[in-house]
């Protein structure tokens, strides 16, 4: 009896409501749905900015790998700026996340 009630309780937990499959596309789609539904707008703005920083850094790195390091200072400045902006945005996201309000009042 106790086992049957435990099994029945497991079926009604919120995780079962999403009905996720074990495949990678299913995991990605459930993650996207979860993110869109539960993430505040402010955090989405910062996340978008962070993705922008990553994209710009990747483009510069690929260019440096294909063409060469000359002028090296230009690559260092551009790539370093992208990385620095990403780090600052990550810090801002941690501070503005409502879930961290206890740590950052």
């Amino acid at each position: 009896m106790a086992r049957e009630s435990a099994a029945a309780a497991a079926e009604t937990t919120p995780a079962a409501a999403f009905n996720t499959s074990a495949s990678v596309p299913g995991i990605v789609s459930s993650l996207a749905r979860e993110y869109t539904a539960n993430t505040p707008q402010r955090l989405k703005v910062i996340d978008t900015y962070m993705v922008f920083c990553v994209a710009v850094g990747i483009v510069q790195f690929v260019y440096c790998g294909l063409v060469g390091t000359f002028p090296y200072n230009a690559f260092l400045a551009g790539f370093g700026s992208a990385v620095a902006c990403f780090v600052f945005a990550a810090n801002l996201r941690m501070k503005t996340n409502p879930k961290n309000r206890a740590q950052f009042p």
Binding site: K44, T48, F52, V56, V59, Y63, V67, G68
Partner: protein, 284 residues
């Protein structure tokens, strides 16, 4: 032109002159040997004065040369001790001479063993054919210069490399070759098309960012709550951007840092006012 000074030449000249006047010395029991390190005999000759040995033995650092002889006085017909006994080596091409002292090995007997270190020092750098001769001198009996024969000094390197080494060792006095300045070759840069493509690829994420922000509802409507402070703050942030451009164009680093420090205080103050009033104006 190589300039080489040898006291042996002077001694040789004196001995030749003396021998022409006195000539009472005669080398005898002359033995020239080239042996392996194990003691096996590679070459052996015993020329009779004034003849030379016919063959040209090859001498390397591992096959030492040994020259032994006795000196007899023709007048007294007995072995005599001389005041100077040298074994002289003269390079056939360059004319360089090297003389080794023949050590006394008995009454009127002398011996010279060419040590490995002497070979490495004197003959390995200048291999080739050498004329070997005895230079004997006595104040009482005069002097003798006896050409024994020719030996081949070899250092194991190919003939061409030896010639190249010899040529590189030659000292030339004169004007050095003129130095012509060469400018550094310009760095190889990619084509303009590749650079443009990647420039566009760097701008595209910015356009996508603005598009996503617009879709998320990002707007500047909140600046109207505090227009003056907001405009001043954004203006000072824009001044920082302009300072970065100015540094890129020509402003020196420390000048740019000074300007940045000057802009820092008003930017902080105005930003503090603008953001705090904006936060106060937002509903809880």
């Amino acid at each position: 032109m190589r300039c080489f000074r040898s006291s042996t030449r002077m001694l040789l000249a004196i001995c030749t002159l003396a021998s022409s006047c006195l000539a009472a010395l005669q080398p005898t029991d002359i033995h020239i040997k080239v042996m392996e390190r194990t003691g096996d005999k590679l070459f052996s000759a015993s020329p009779q004065y004034p003849n030379t040995f016919g063959k040209v033995p090859e001498i390397t650092s591992t096959t030492p040369l040994s020259v032994s002889f006795s000196v007899k006085s023709t007048t007294a017909n007995e072995a005599v001790a001389v005041d100077q006994a040298f074994v002289n080596f003269r390079h056939k091409e360059t004319g360089d001479e090297t003389a080794f002292v023949a050590k006394r090995a008995g009454v009127g007997a002398y011996r010279m063993d060419l040590a490995r270190k002497h070979f490495r020092t004197h003959f390995a750098p200048s291999p080739g054919l050498y004329d070997i001769s005895l230079v004997l001198g006595s104040f009482a009996d005069g002097g003798v210069h006896y050409a024994l024969g020719t030996v081949q000094m070899s250092n194991g390197k190919p003939q061409q490399q030896q010639q190249q080494q010899r040529m590189s060792d030659t000292v030339v006095f004169g004007a050095r070759p003129e130095i012509h300045h060469r400018f550094a070759e310009p760095q190889r840069m990619p084509s303009a098309a590749v650079s443009l493509v990647f420039a566009v690829l760097c701008v595209v994420p910015l356009v996508v960012l603005f598009g996503v922000w617009a879709r998320l509802g990002v707007n500047v409507g909140g600046l109207g709550a505090e227009p003056v402070a907001s405009a001043a703050f954004l203006g000072l942030v824009g001044a920082y951007m302009a300072l970065a451009v100015a540094y890129w164009v020509g402003v020196k680093l420390f000048s740019a840092l000074t300007y940045a420090l000057v802009l820092a205080l008003p930017t902080y103050a105005v930003g503090q006012v603008a953001l705090s009033r904006r936060a106060a104006s937002k509903p809880c």
